[in-house]
């Protein structure tokens, strides 16, 4: 019975998911997505992961710093465009450089107004991955960094 249901489910999901080209995912959902889910999105070429706050407190930045990119991304064979919107990712995982990405868009969050000066850990405001030359996919043709209203990029590290 379980196998029958499973096979019906698979035969239903493959044509459904297999034609999807773009996904937008709330960052809160990322931890709940099984890695193997990516195998079903064989045509997916564009993914957006978005955070929920335009302006963040230090506690929210700390929460972001513990965020890990969902591993289902590495199972998407045609992923060419990735948008990270208002997520304070500190480091990319080791597999990130192997993604077939051509376009990477990053929009940084802003420190909550009148709050940035009070950050105890100001390292949270800098994304460590920016200084890691090996973490990015060498197939990238476009990189876009967007408004944050606060100096984020350390060009020495780029």
């Amino acid at each position: 019975m379980y196998q029958t249901v499973g096979s019906v489910s698979n035969s239903f999901c493959q044509p459904l998911y297999g034609n999807i080209r773009r996904l937008c995912i709330d960052v809160a959902w990322c931890a709940h997505i099984p890695p193997e889910t990516g195998d079903q999105f064989v045509q997916l070429d564009s993914a957006t992961l978005f955070g929920t706050h335009d302006e963040k407190t230090e506690a929210q930045y700390e929460e972001d710093s513990r965020f890990e990119l969902p591993t289902f991304l590495r199972h998407l064979p045609k992923l060419q465009l990735l948008e990270l919107y208002k997520i304070g990712i500190q480091e990319f995982p080791s597999w990130f450089a192997a993604l077939p990405l051509k376009e990477l868009y990053v929009e940084f969050a802003c420190p909550a107004e009148n709050y940035s000066g009070e950050f105890l850990n100001r390292n949270l405001l800098d994304s460590a991955w920016v200084g890691d030359v090996s973490c990015l996919s060498r197939s990238l043709e476009l990189m876009a960094f967007c408004d944050c209203g606060f100096g984020v990029l350390d060009t020495e590290g780029l």
Partner: protein, 306 residues
Amino acid sequence: MRQLPCLQELRINGCLDEACPEWLHEIASLRRVQAKYLPFAESADVLRECNLDAIEYTMESGDGPIETDGFVLGLERLVVGTPCGNSLRELNIRGNQLGSVPDCLRSLQLQVLCVSETGITALPSWISELPLIFLDLSTNPLLATLPASLHSLTTLRALDVRETNLGGPQIDFSADAETDTTEPTLWIGGDQGPYDGGGSQNIGDCFLEVVRRDSILGPLSRALPALRLRLHEIPCEMREGHDSYKDSGLENNWWHERCGYDWIDPIFYTCDGCRLTSTDGLEAARSAIGMARRARLAWRVVPCSD
């Protein structure tokens, strides 16, 4: 980033406190750079060594152009006798206060030029020496004329003159709230311009201006039949407040003389959810244009005398 062998486009919008990084020219594959709010003079010294096809260096305040220290001098250093100047085909310097189109652009091979919201008041006659395909002059409320030489710019396919003293009518929603009528108004610059606290006038109150614009737009369109003109600004009240706007395709309605419509016609600035309640001023303006056209035609035709 400089170790990315395929990187062609870099967008750094508001993320740097300083100029573009000095090593940018090391990215041999880089062709397009988009930057907002970066110190321009310093960035120009970096970008001039890059073989770029396109540069967008824009300021977008919404309150008119922003004066940037050393912008024109920086632009000269960027393009005159440099690798960047040789390769550059698209330049967007929207929002930077210029006053006039910088002479240093004259020697370039630009196909796309955006000098929107730069405070320019006139175009130089040498603009027709550039192999332009698209010229964006929008949001320059003191711009009221075009040089005659533009008629010979046969490469030009698109010209944007919205929110200049050459643009077409639009609906003024602020007037609508006060008078409960919806009439077409014409963007009027000069002392009445938006940056001086002025705005637009009902089209029925400015016949002379309508006729003047018609005498510029018509001949230009006849001289360049392949040219499409974008004349009508769509107010945000319509873009955001009317669902029918999304299906109206208004953004695609660029005017040319043989399109079957006059440049003052509502098809360019109304949609199902936002129609005119009064067209009196429009009809009067149409009559004024018709009379002026007939007069111009008669002036050109020399009558035979017995």
